[in-house]
Protein backbone atom coordinates (compact mmCIF):
# COMPACT_ATOMS: atom_id res chain seq x y z
CA UNK A 1 0.00 0.00 0.00
CA UNK A 2 1.39 3.34 -0.98
CA UNK A 3 1.29 5.88 1.79
CA UNK A 4 1.49 9.60 2.09
CA UNK A 5 3.69 10.35 5.06
CA UNK A 6 3.75 14.11 4.99
CA UNK A 7 0.44 15.81 5.38
CA UNK A 8 -0.90 14.69 8.70
CA UNK A 9 -1.88 16.13 12.00
CA UNK A 10 -0.17 14.61 15.00
CA UNK A 11 -3.42 13.70 16.65
CA UNK A 12 -4.35 11.33 13.89
CA UNK A 13 -1.70 8.65 13.57
CA UNK A 14 -3.10 7.35 10.32
CA UNK A 15 -1.38 7.20 7.01
CA UNK A 16 -4.04 7.46 4.39
CA UNK A 17 -3.33 6.06 0.99
CA UNK A 18 -2.60 8.61 -1.65
CA UNK A 19 -5.97 8.01 -3.19
CA UNK A 20 -6.83 9.93 -6.31
CA UNK A 21 -9.83 12.19 -6.24
CA UNK A 22 -13.07 10.39 -6.71
CA UNK A 23 -14.35 11.20 -10.14
CA UNK A 24 -11.33 9.95 -12.07
CA UNK A 25 -11.61 6.34 -11.07
CA UNK A 26 -12.98 3.21 -12.58
CA UNK A 27 -15.83 1.74 -10.55
CA UNK A 28 -16.45 -1.98 -10.99
CA UNK A 29 -19.75 -1.63 -9.16
CA UNK A 30 -21.82 1.46 -9.74
CA UNK A 31 -24.90 1.97 -7.63
CA UNK A 32 -27.07 4.39 -9.52
CA UNK A 33 -29.99 6.18 -7.83
CA UNK A 34 -30.84 2.93 -6.09
CA UNK A 35 -33.71 2.99 -3.62
CA UNK A 36 -35.18 0.08 -1.67
CA UNK A 37 -38.57 -0.35 -0.08
CA UNK A 38 -39.77 -3.41 1.78
CA UNK A 39 -43.46 -3.64 2.71
CA UNK A 40 -43.97 -0.01 1.68
CA UNK A 41 -41.30 0.99 4.18
CA UNK A 42 -38.35 2.85 2.72
CA UNK A 43 -35.13 1.12 3.75
CA UNK A 44 -32.86 3.62 2.05
CA UNK A 45 -33.55 6.59 -0.16
CA UNK A 46 -32.24 6.57 -3.74
CA UNK A 47 -28.47 6.86 -3.59
CA UNK A 48 -25.63 6.89 -6.04
CA UNK A 49 -22.37 5.24 -5.04
CA UNK A 50 -19.48 4.23 -7.22
CA UNK A 51 -17.46 1.39 -5.70
CA UNK A 52 -13.95 1.92 -6.94
CA UNK A 53 -12.00 -0.85 -8.56
CA UNK A 54 -9.03 -2.19 -6.59
CA UNK A 55 -9.71 -0.04 -3.56
CA UNK A 56 -11.24 -0.62 -0.18
CA UNK A 57 -14.54 1.21 -0.09
CA UNK A 58 -16.05 1.42 3.38
CA UNK A 59 -19.66 1.99 4.24
CA UNK A 60 -20.14 3.48 7.69
CA UNK A 61 -23.12 4.69 9.64
CA UNK A 62 -25.37 3.76 12.54
CA UNK A 63 -27.32 0.50 12.76
CA UNK A 64 -30.51 0.41 10.77
CA UNK A 65 -29.49 2.91 8.12
CA UNK A 66 -29.62 0.31 5.36
CA UNK A 67 -25.96 -0.54 4.87
CA UNK A 68 -26.46 -4.29 4.92
CA UNK A 69 -29.58 -4.02 2.79
CA UNK A 70 -27.55 -2.13 0.22
CA UNK A 71 -25.02 -4.98 0.05
CA UNK A 72 -27.82 -7.53 -0.23
CA UNK A 73 -29.37 -5.58 -3.09
CA UNK A 74 -26.09 -5.54 -5.01
CA UNK A 75 -26.15 -9.33 -5.38
CA UNK A 76 -29.94 -9.45 -5.43
CA UNK A 77 -30.43 -11.34 -2.20
CA UNK A 78 -33.43 -9.03 -1.91
CA UNK A 79 -35.11 -11.29 -4.48
CA UNK A 80 -36.01 -13.63 -1.63
CA UNK A 81 -37.84 -10.96 0.36
CA UNK A 82 -41.51 -10.42 -0.23
CA UNK A 83 -43.00 -7.07 -1.25
CA UNK A 84 -39.80 -5.34 -2.22
CA UNK A 85 -39.68 -2.36 -4.49
CA UNK A 86 -36.38 -1.41 -6.04
CA UNK A 87 -35.80 1.83 -7.94
CA UNK A 88 -32.76 2.80 -9.94
CA UNK A 89 -30.03 0.47 -11.04
CA UNK A 90 -26.79 -1.20 -10.09
CA UNK A 91 -24.12 -1.73 -12.68
CA UNK A 92 -21.68 -4.55 -12.12
CA UNK A 93 -19.03 -4.72 -14.78
CA UNK A 94 -21.16 -2.26 -16.78
CA UNK A 95 -24.19 -4.57 -16.79
CA UNK A 96 -27.38 -3.58 -15.04
CA UNK A 97 -28.05 -6.38 -12.57
CA UNK A 98 -31.78 -5.79 -12.68
CA UNK A 99 -31.93 -6.53 -16.40
CA UNK A 100 -34.21 -9.48 -17.00
CA UNK A 101 -31.46 -11.54 -18.61
CA UNK A 102 -29.15 -11.29 -15.62
CA UNK A 103 -27.68 -14.65 -14.69
CA UNK A 104 -27.82 -14.60 -10.89
CA UNK A 105 -25.36 -17.44 -10.51
CA UNK A 106 -22.89 -15.57 -12.71
CA UNK A 107 -23.51 -12.31 -10.80
CA UNK A 108 -22.79 -14.01 -7.51
CA UNK A 109 -19.65 -15.53 -8.93
CA UNK A 110 -18.40 -12.08 -9.93
CA UNK A 111 -19.41 -10.43 -6.68
CA UNK A 112 -18.78 -12.49 -3.57
CA UNK A 113 -20.36 -11.72 -0.23
CA UNK A 114 -19.07 -12.35 3.28
CA UNK A 115 -21.46 -12.05 6.18
CA UNK A 116 -21.14 -10.81 9.70
CA UNK A 117 -21.43 -14.24 11.28
CA UNK A 118 -18.48 -16.38 10.31
CA UNK A 119 -20.45 -19.52 9.59
CA UNK A 120 -19.14 -22.00 7.04
CA UNK A 121 -21.43 -24.90 6.19
CA UNK A 122 -21.11 -27.37 9.09
CA UNK A 123 -19.41 -29.82 6.79
CA UNK A 124 -15.82 -30.68 5.99
CA UNK A 125 -13.54 -27.87 4.86
CA UNK A 126 -13.24 -29.60 1.49
CA UNK A 127 -17.00 -29.83 1.04
CA UNK A 128 -17.28 -26.10 1.72
CA UNK A 129 -15.28 -25.49 -1.44
CA UNK A 130 -16.65 -28.36 -3.44
CA UNK A 131 -20.29 -27.21 -3.33
CA UNK A 132 -19.88 -23.72 -4.82
CA UNK A 133 -17.10 -24.78 -7.20
CA UNK A 134 -19.21 -27.57 -8.64
CA UNK A 135 -22.13 -25.21 -9.09
CA UNK A 136 -19.88 -22.93 -11.11
CA UNK A 137 -18.76 -25.71 -13.41
CA UNK A 138 -15.50 -26.79 -11.80
CA UNK A 139 -16.09 -30.49 -11.44
CA UNK A 140 -12.72 -32.21 -11.67
CA UNK A 141 -11.29 -33.28 -8.36
CA UNK A 142 -7.84 -31.96 -9.20
CA UNK A 143 -9.27 -28.59 -10.30
CA UNK A 144 -11.25 -28.31 -7.09
CA UNK A 145 -8.16 -29.12 -5.06
CA UNK A 146 -6.14 -26.50 -6.91
CA UNK A 147 -8.75 -23.78 -6.50
CA UNK A 148 -9.13 -24.65 -2.83
CA UNK A 149 -5.41 -24.60 -2.16
CA UNK A 150 -4.89 -21.26 -3.90
CA UNK A 151 -7.78 -19.67 -2.05
CA UNK A 152 -6.73 -21.03 1.33
CA UNK A 153 -3.19 -19.81 0.71
CA UNK A 154 -4.52 -16.37 -0.23
CA UNK A 155 -6.15 -16.00 3.18
CA UNK A 156 -3.19 -17.55 5.01
CA UNK A 157 -5.15 -20.54 6.18
CA UNK A 158 -3.47 -23.27 4.17
CA UNK A 159 -0.71 -23.93 6.70
CA UNK A 160 -3.26 -24.19 9.46
CA UNK A 161 -5.71 -26.58 7.82
CA UNK A 162 -3.84 -28.46 5.08
CA UNK A 163 -3.73 -31.65 7.11
CA UNK A 164 -7.38 -31.59 8.14
CA UNK A 165 -9.34 -30.74 5.04
CA UNK A 166 -11.73 -33.58 5.78
CA UNK A 167 -12.48 -32.28 9.24
CA UNK A 168 -15.54 -30.23 9.96
CA UNK A 169 -15.16 -26.52 9.34
CA UNK A 170 -17.06 -25.91 12.55
CA UNK A 171 -13.98 -27.03 14.49
CA UNK A 172 -12.05 -23.93 13.44
CA UNK A 173 -11.82 -20.77 15.54
CA UNK A 174 -14.03 -17.78 14.73
CA UNK A 175 -11.25 -15.95 12.93
CA UNK A 176 -10.30 -19.06 10.96
CA UNK A 177 -13.94 -19.63 10.02
CA UNK A 178 -14.23 -16.10 8.71
CA UNK A 179 -11.05 -16.53 6.67
CA UNK A 180 -12.47 -19.80 5.38
CA UNK A 181 -15.62 -17.96 4.32
CA UNK A 182 -13.48 -15.41 2.49
CA UNK A 183 -11.41 -18.18 0.88
CA UNK A 184 -14.58 -19.95 -0.21
CA UNK A 185 -15.61 -16.79 -2.04
CA UNK A 186 -12.13 -16.23 -3.47
CA UNK A 187 -12.06 -19.76 -4.87
CA UNK A 188 -14.78 -18.69 -7.31
CA UNK A 189 -12.39 -16.06 -8.67
CA UNK A 190 -14.69 -13.09 -8.13
CA UNK A 191 -13.92 -9.54 -9.16
CA UNK A 192 -15.45 -7.84 -6.15
CA UNK A 193 -16.00 -8.65 -2.49
CA UNK A 194 -18.82 -7.34 -0.35
CA UNK A 195 -18.16 -7.72 3.37
CA UNK A 196 -20.89 -7.11 5.89
CA UNK A 197 -19.15 -6.30 9.18
CA UNK A 198 -16.78 -9.22 8.76
CA UNK A 199 -14.93 -8.55 12.01
CA UNK A 200 -17.71 -7.72 14.42
CA UNK A 201 -17.87 -11.26 15.76
CA UNK A 202 -14.10 -11.61 16.04
CA UNK A 203 -11.53 -10.76 18.67
CA UNK A 204 -9.09 -7.89 17.98
CA UNK A 205 -6.25 -10.15 16.87
CA UNK A 206 -8.43 -12.06 14.41
CA UNK A 207 -9.82 -8.72 13.20
CA UNK A 208 -6.33 -7.43 12.51
CA UNK A 209 -5.54 -10.52 10.46
CA UNK A 210 -8.66 -9.95 8.35
CA UNK A 211 -7.80 -6.27 7.94
CA UNK A 212 -4.30 -7.08 6.76
CA UNK A 213 -5.76 -9.66 4.43
CA UNK A 214 -8.11 -7.09 2.91
CA UNK A 215 -5.20 -4.72 2.34
CA UNK A 216 -3.49 -7.43 0.33
CA UNK A 217 -6.63 -8.45 -1.51
CA UNK A 218 -7.47 -4.97 -2.73
CA UNK A 219 -4.69 -5.13 -5.30
CA UNK A 220 -6.75 -7.76 -7.11
CA UNK A 221 -10.31 -7.16 -5.99
CA UNK A 222 -12.79 -4.37 -5.60
CA UNK A 223 -13.81 -4.31 -1.96
CA UNK A 224 -16.89 -2.84 -0.33
CA UNK A 225 -16.96 -3.29 3.42
CA UNK A 226 -19.66 -2.35 5.89
CA UNK A 227 -18.24 -1.58 9.30
CA UNK A 228 -19.38 -0.13 12.57
CA UNK A 229 -15.84 0.17 13.69
CA UNK A 230 -14.65 3.68 12.78
CA UNK A 231 -11.05 2.99 13.65
CA UNK A 232 -11.15 0.00 11.36
CA UNK A 233 -12.47 2.21 8.56
CA UNK A 234 -9.68 4.70 9.31
CA UNK A 235 -7.07 1.96 9.17
CA UNK A 236 -8.04 0.29 5.95
CA UNK A 237 -10.47 2.33 3.84
CA UNK A 238 -9.46 4.31 0.79
CA UNK A 239 -12.94 5.69 0.24
CA UNK A 240 -15.72 6.08 2.72
CA UNK A 241 -19.45 6.45 2.26
CA UNK A 242 -21.36 7.68 5.26
CA UNK A 243 -25.01 6.73 5.67
CA UNK A 244 -27.39 8.15 8.23
CA UNK A 245 -31.05 7.70 8.92
CA UNK A 246 -33.81 10.18 9.27
CA UNK A 247 -37.54 9.51 9.35
CA UNK A 248 -36.68 5.85 9.96
CA UNK A 249 -34.95 5.37 6.65
CA UNK A 250 -31.41 5.39 5.45
CA UNK A 251 -29.78 8.02 3.35
CA UNK A 252 -26.32 8.50 1.88
CA UNK A 253 -24.92 11.67 3.44
CA UNK A 254 -21.41 11.90 2.15
CA UNK A 255 -18.99 9.93 0.02
CA UNK A 256 -15.36 10.85 -0.39
CA UNK A 257 -11.78 9.84 0.12
CA UNK A 258 -11.21 8.45 3.59
CA UNK A 259 -8.94 11.31 4.63
CA UNK A 260 -11.55 13.87 3.63
CA UNK A 261 -14.36 12.08 5.47
CA UNK A 262 -12.32 11.71 8.64
CA UNK A 263 -10.40 15.00 8.64
CA UNK A 264 -12.50 17.45 6.75
CA UNK A 265 -16.04 16.27 6.17
CA UNK A 266 -18.36 18.72 4.51
CA UNK A 267 -21.52 17.66 6.30
CA UNK A 268 -21.92 18.46 10.02
CA UNK A 269 -23.62 15.08 10.68
CA UNK A 270 -20.60 13.31 9.22
CA UNK A 271 -18.30 15.43 11.33
CA UNK A 272 -20.21 14.62 14.50
CA UNK A 273 -20.36 10.91 13.66
CA UNK A 274 -16.68 10.42 12.85
CA UNK A 275 -15.73 12.28 16.00
CA UNK A 276 -17.91 9.92 17.97
CA UNK A 277 -20.31 12.66 19.07
CA UNK A 278 -23.36 10.68 17.98
CA UNK A 279 -23.83 6.98 18.14
Amino acid sequence: MSVNQTSHLKAVPKNYSAAPSIDKLAAYIHVNRLGLQINQQTIFEPLTLPVYTNHINALIGPSGCGKSSLLNTIIRLTDYEKNTRIDGSVFVDKQNIFHKNTDLIELRKKVGMIFQKPVPFPMSIRKNFELPLKEHGIKHKSDIEAHMETALKAVGLWQEVADRLNHSASMLSGGQQQRLCIARVLALKPKALLLDEPCSALDPIASRIIEELLQELKTQYTILIVTHNLSQARRIADYVAFMWYHDKHGKLIEHNRADVIFENPSNPITAAYVQGLTD
Binding site: I75, L104, G112, M113, F121, M123, L131, C181
Partner: protein, 284 residues
Protein backbone atom coordinates in the same frame (compact mmCIF):
# COMPACT_ATOMS: atom_id res chain seq x y z
CA UNK B 1 -29.34 -24.76 56.13
CA UNK B 2 -32.26 -22.63 57.06
CA UNK B 3 -34.42 -24.17 59.71
CA UNK B 4 -38.01 -24.26 58.47
CA UNK B 5 -41.13 -24.54 60.59
CA UNK B 6 -42.19 -28.13 61.24
CA UNK B 7 -45.33 -27.81 59.14
CA UNK B 8 -43.36 -26.68 56.10
CA UNK B 9 -40.80 -29.44 56.62
CA UNK B 10 -43.63 -31.93 56.59
CA UNK B 11 -44.98 -30.52 53.30
CA UNK B 12 -41.53 -30.68 51.68
CA UNK B 13 -41.06 -34.26 52.78
CA UNK B 14 -44.49 -35.21 51.49
CA UNK B 15 -43.76 -33.70 48.10
CA UNK B 16 -40.47 -35.55 47.92
CA UNK B 17 -42.06 -38.87 48.79
CA UNK B 18 -44.96 -38.41 46.36
CA UNK B 19 -42.73 -37.56 43.41
CA UNK B 20 -40.36 -40.38 44.27
CA UNK B 21 -43.27 -42.79 44.46
CA UNK B 22 -44.62 -41.67 41.06
CA UNK B 23 -41.21 -42.26 39.53
CA UNK B 24 -41.12 -45.69 41.07
CA UNK B 25 -44.59 -46.44 39.73
CA UNK B 26 -43.47 -45.83 36.16
CA UNK B 27 -40.45 -48.07 36.58
CA UNK B 28 -42.70 -50.66 38.14
CA UNK B 29 -45.14 -50.70 35.22
CA UNK B 30 -42.34 -50.94 32.70
CA UNK B 31 -40.58 -53.68 34.64
CA UNK B 32 -43.81 -55.59 35.14
CA UNK B 33 -44.64 -55.42 31.43
CA UNK B 34 -41.16 -56.52 30.45
CA UNK B 35 -41.05 -59.27 33.05
CA UNK B 36 -44.50 -60.55 32.14
CA UNK B 37 -43.65 -60.74 28.45
CA UNK B 38 -40.26 -62.31 29.13
CA UNK B 39 -41.69 -64.83 31.58
CA UNK B 40 -44.43 -66.05 29.28
CA UNK B 41 -42.81 -65.41 25.94
CA UNK B 42 -39.21 -66.47 26.37
CA UNK B 43 -39.84 -70.22 26.69
CA UNK B 44 -41.32 -70.23 23.19
CA UNK B 45 -38.55 -68.18 21.56
CA UNK B 46 -36.12 -70.12 19.41
CA UNK B 47 -34.66 -69.83 15.94
CA UNK B 48 -37.25 -72.32 14.84
CA UNK B 49 -40.04 -70.10 16.19
CA UNK B 50 -38.76 -67.20 14.10
CA UNK B 51 -38.32 -69.14 10.88
CA UNK B 52 -41.17 -71.62 10.68
CA UNK B 53 -44.82 -71.58 9.67
CA UNK B 54 -47.53 -71.26 12.29
CA UNK B 55 -49.55 -74.41 13.08
CA UNK B 56 -53.02 -74.78 14.59
CA UNK B 57 -53.95 -71.10 14.05
CA UNK B 58 -50.72 -70.01 15.64
CA UNK B 59 -50.92 -72.02 18.84
CA UNK B 60 -47.92 -73.94 17.68
CA UNK B 61 -45.23 -73.44 15.06
CA UNK B 62 -43.59 -70.15 14.31
CA UNK B 63 -44.08 -66.66 12.97
CA UNK B 64 -42.04 -66.56 9.79
CA UNK B 65 -44.91 -65.30 7.55
CA UNK B 66 -45.81 -62.56 10.05
CA UNK B 67 -42.22 -61.41 10.26
CA UNK B 68 -42.00 -61.24 6.49
CA UNK B 69 -45.38 -59.48 6.20
CA UNK B 70 -44.38 -56.95 8.87
CA UNK B 71 -41.09 -56.18 7.17
CA UNK B 72 -42.78 -55.90 3.77
CA UNK B 73 -45.43 -53.59 5.21
CA UNK B 74 -42.83 -51.37 6.85
CA UNK B 75 -40.55 -51.21 3.83
CA UNK B 76 -43.39 -50.45 1.47
CA UNK B 77 -44.91 -47.93 3.85
CA UNK B 78 -41.62 -46.02 4.08
CA UNK B 79 -41.06 -46.29 0.35
CA UNK B 80 -44.40 -44.57 -0.19
CA UNK B 81 -44.41 -42.15 2.74
CA UNK B 82 -40.81 -40.95 2.77
CA UNK B 83 -40.64 -39.26 -0.66
CA UNK B 84 -44.05 -37.65 -0.16
CA UNK B 85 -43.11 -36.68 3.39
CA UNK B 86 -39.79 -35.12 2.47
CA UNK B 87 -41.27 -33.29 -0.51
CA UNK B 88 -44.17 -31.87 1.49
CA UNK B 89 -41.88 -30.88 4.34
CA UNK B 90 -39.60 -29.09 1.89
CA UNK B 91 -42.57 -27.27 0.45
CA UNK B 92 -43.83 -26.24 3.88
CA UNK B 93 -40.49 -25.26 5.36
CA UNK B 94 -38.77 -23.67 2.39
CA UNK B 95 -41.50 -22.23 0.21
CA UNK B 96 -44.25 -21.17 2.55
CA UNK B 97 -44.70 -19.33 5.80
CA UNK B 98 -47.47 -19.10 8.38
CA UNK B 99 -49.06 -16.11 6.68
CA UNK B 100 -50.12 -18.03 3.57
CA UNK B 101 -53.59 -19.53 3.71
CA UNK B 102 -52.61 -22.54 1.65
CA UNK B 103 -49.77 -23.43 4.02
CA UNK B 104 -52.06 -22.94 7.01
CA UNK B 105 -54.63 -25.17 5.33
CA UNK B 106 -52.06 -27.94 4.89
CA UNK B 107 -50.95 -27.57 8.51
CA UNK B 108 -54.55 -27.82 9.73
CA UNK B 109 -55.17 -30.88 7.57
CA UNK B 110 -52.06 -32.51 9.00
CA UNK B 111 -53.24 -31.83 12.54
CA UNK B 112 -56.59 -33.41 11.80
CA UNK B 113 -55.00 -36.37 10.02
CA UNK B 114 -52.64 -36.93 12.93
CA UNK B 115 -55.52 -37.24 15.36
CA UNK B 116 -57.70 -39.57 13.28
CA UNK B 117 -58.17 -42.80 15.27
CA UNK B 118 -56.46 -45.71 13.61
CA UNK B 119 -59.71 -47.70 13.36
CA UNK B 120 -61.16 -44.88 11.24
CA UNK B 121 -58.00 -44.84 9.17
CA UNK B 122 -58.47 -48.59 8.70
CA UNK B 123 -62.02 -48.12 7.48
CA UNK B 124 -60.86 -45.41 5.10
CA UNK B 125 -58.10 -47.71 3.85
CA UNK B 126 -60.65 -50.46 3.35
CA UNK B 127 -63.10 -48.24 1.47
CA UNK B 128 -60.49 -46.51 -0.64
CA UNK B 129 -57.53 -48.79 -1.25
CA UNK B 130 -59.17 -52.20 -0.84
CA UNK B 131 -62.52 -51.52 -2.50
CA UNK B 132 -62.31 -48.39 -4.66
CA UNK B 133 -58.79 -48.96 -6.01
CA UNK B 134 -59.46 -52.72 -6.06
CA UNK B 135 -56.23 -53.61 -4.34
CA UNK B 136 -58.07 -56.18 -2.25
CA UNK B 137 -56.80 -57.32 1.15
CA UNK B 138 -53.15 -56.91 0.36
CA UNK B 139 -49.87 -55.83 1.84
CA UNK B 140 -49.88 -52.94 -0.63
CA UNK B 141 -53.26 -51.70 0.63
CA UNK B 142 -52.03 -52.06 4.21
CA UNK B 143 -48.80 -50.20 3.46
CA UNK B 144 -50.72 -47.39 1.75
CA UNK B 145 -52.98 -47.05 4.79
CA UNK B 146 -49.99 -47.08 7.13
CA UNK B 147 -48.35 -44.44 4.95
CA UNK B 148 -51.41 -42.21 5.38
CA UNK B 149 -51.14 -42.73 9.12
CA UNK B 150 -47.47 -41.88 9.50
CA UNK B 151 -47.38 -39.02 6.98
CA UNK B 152 -48.49 -36.28 9.40
CA UNK B 153 -45.84 -37.31 11.91
CA UNK B 154 -43.21 -37.65 9.20
CA UNK B 155 -43.97 -34.30 7.56
CA UNK B 156 -44.08 -32.45 10.87
CA UNK B 157 -40.76 -33.76 12.14
CA UNK B 158 -38.94 -33.25 8.84
CA UNK B 159 -40.41 -29.77 8.51
CA UNK B 160 -39.17 -28.95 12.01
CA UNK B 161 -35.68 -30.16 11.31
CA UNK B 162 -35.55 -28.08 8.10
CA UNK B 163 -36.83 -25.00 9.92
CA UNK B 164 -34.21 -25.48 12.62
CA UNK B 165 -31.40 -24.98 10.12
CA UNK B 166 -30.12 -21.43 10.70
CA UNK B 167 -30.98 -19.02 7.88
CA UNK B 168 -27.36 -18.00 7.55
CA UNK B 169 -26.71 -21.25 5.66
CA UNK B 170 -29.40 -20.40 3.10
CA UNK B 171 -28.01 -16.88 2.81
CA UNK B 172 -24.50 -18.21 2.33
CA UNK B 173 -25.61 -20.79 -0.20
CA UNK B 174 -27.40 -18.16 -2.26
CA UNK B 175 -24.61 -15.64 -1.98
CA UNK B 176 -22.22 -18.31 -3.26
CA UNK B 177 -24.45 -18.67 -6.27
CA UNK B 178 -25.77 -22.12 -5.41
CA UNK B 179 -28.94 -23.01 -7.27
CA UNK B 180 -31.99 -23.76 -5.16
CA UNK B 181 -31.77 -27.43 -6.11
CA UNK B 182 -28.16 -27.77 -5.04
CA UNK B 183 -28.82 -25.82 -1.86
CA UNK B 184 -31.70 -28.14 -1.04
CA UNK B 185 -30.03 -31.44 -1.84
CA UNK B 186 -26.48 -30.72 -0.79
CA UNK B 187 -26.81 -28.26 2.05
CA UNK B 188 -30.23 -28.35 3.67
CA UNK B 189 -31.17 -32.03 3.41
CA UNK B 190 -27.77 -33.26 4.65
CA UNK B 191 -28.03 -30.86 7.57
CA UNK B 192 -31.51 -32.17 8.29
CA UNK B 193 -30.48 -35.82 7.84
CA UNK B 194 -30.43 -36.57 11.54
CA UNK B 195 -33.90 -35.14 12.01
CA UNK B 196 -35.21 -37.04 9.01
CA UNK B 197 -33.83 -40.29 10.37
CA UNK B 198 -35.42 -39.63 13.73
CA UNK B 199 -38.74 -39.01 11.99
CA UNK B 200 -38.37 -42.30 10.14
CA UNK B 201 -37.66 -44.17 13.37
CA UNK B 202 -40.73 -42.68 15.04
CA UNK B 203 -42.83 -43.57 12.02
CA UNK B 204 -41.53 -47.12 11.92
CA UNK B 205 -42.38 -47.50 15.59
CA UNK B 206 -45.86 -46.20 15.00
CA UNK B 207 -46.40 -48.38 11.92
CA UNK B 208 -45.06 -51.47 13.60
CA UNK B 209 -47.41 -51.14 16.54
CA UNK B 210 -50.42 -50.51 14.32
CA UNK B 211 -53.13 -53.13 14.43
CA UNK B 212 -56.56 -51.68 13.79
CA UNK B 213 -55.71 -50.06 10.49
CA UNK B 214 -54.26 -53.29 9.17
CA UNK B 215 -57.12 -55.60 10.11
CA UNK B 216 -59.24 -54.14 7.33
CA UNK B 217 -56.54 -53.61 4.76
CA UNK B 218 -53.76 -56.16 4.71
CA UNK B 219 -55.90 -58.92 6.13
CA UNK B 220 -54.95 -61.69 8.52
CA UNK B 221 -54.20 -64.87 6.65
CA UNK B 222 -51.31 -66.71 8.22
CA UNK B 223 -49.65 -68.05 5.12
CA UNK B 224 -46.45 -66.75 3.62
CA UNK B 225 -47.19 -63.71 1.40
CA UNK B 226 -46.24 -64.39 -2.22
CA UNK B 227 -46.15 -60.77 -3.33
CA UNK B 228 -47.17 -57.34 -2.10
CA UNK B 229 -50.55 -57.93 -3.74
CA UNK B 230 -51.03 -60.91 -1.46
CA UNK B 231 -52.72 -60.68 1.89
CA UNK B 232 -50.47 -60.85 4.95
CA UNK B 233 -50.70 -60.71 8.71
CA UNK B 234 -48.48 -58.32 10.61
CA UNK B 235 -46.98 -59.22 13.99
CA UNK B 236 -49.27 -56.84 15.85
CA UNK B 237 -52.36 -58.30 14.15
CA UNK B 238 -51.01 -61.76 14.99
CA UNK B 239 -50.77 -60.82 18.67
CA UNK B 240 -54.27 -59.39 18.59
CA UNK B 241 -55.71 -62.48 16.91
CA UNK B 242 -53.93 -64.97 19.19
CA UNK B 243 -55.04 -63.26 22.35
CA UNK B 244 -58.62 -62.49 21.29
CA UNK B 245 -59.70 -65.24 18.92
CA UNK B 246 -57.53 -68.27 19.59
CA UNK B 247 -58.12 -70.11 22.87
CA UNK B 248 -54.77 -71.43 24.09
CA UNK B 249 -52.86 -68.94 21.97
CA UNK B 250 -51.67 -66.80 24.89
CA UNK B 251 -48.17 -68.16 25.11
CA UNK B 252 -47.58 -67.70 21.44
CA UNK B 253 -49.01 -64.15 21.71
CA UNK B 254 -46.50 -63.40 24.45
CA UNK B 255 -43.67 -64.73 22.34
CA UNK B 256 -44.76 -62.61 19.37
CA UNK B 257 -45.02 -59.56 21.62
CA UNK B 258 -41.50 -60.27 22.78
CA UNK B 259 -40.25 -60.38 19.19
CA UNK B 260 -42.09 -57.14 18.35
CA UNK B 261 -40.60 -55.35 21.34
CA UNK B 262 -37.17 -56.68 20.51
CA UNK B 263 -37.47 -55.35 16.96
CA UNK B 264 -38.47 -51.91 18.22
CA UNK B 265 -35.61 -51.93 20.69
CA UNK B 266 -33.09 -52.90 18.02
CA UNK B 267 -34.35 -50.16 15.69
CA UNK B 268 -34.08 -47.60 18.47
CA UNK B 269 -30.60 -48.67 19.44
CA UNK B 270 -29.41 -48.70 15.85
CA UNK B 271 -30.92 -45.31 15.13
CA UNK B 272 -28.48 -43.50 17.42
CA UNK B 273 -25.51 -45.14 15.82
CA UNK B 274 -26.90 -44.68 12.34
CA UNK B 275 -27.75 -41.03 12.76
CA UNK B 276 -24.20 -40.06 13.63
CA UNK B 277 -22.92 -42.09 10.70
CA UNK B 278 -25.37 -40.40 8.35
CA UNK B 279 -24.45 -36.97 9.65
CA UNK B 280 -20.78 -37.66 9.03
CA UNK B 281 -21.28 -39.18 5.61
CA UNK B 282 -23.55 -36.51 4.27
CA UNK B 283 -21.39 -33.62 5.36
CA UNK B 284 -17.92 -34.91 4.62
Amino acid sequence: MIKLPAKQQMADLLLKITSWFCGLLIIFFFAYLLFDILLHGLPRISLEYLFSQPLKAGREGGIAPMLLSTLLLLALCLLIALPIGIASAIYLAEYTNESQWFARFIQRSLNVLASVPSIVMGLFGYAFFVIALQLGFSILAGALTLACMVLPLLIRSIEDSLRNIPDIHRLNARALGLSDTRMLFQVLLPLAAQGILLAVILSVGRAMAETAALLYTSGYVTRMPESVMDSGRSLSVHIFDLSMNVPGGEQSAYASAFVLMLLLLIINLFSNRLSSVIQNRSTR
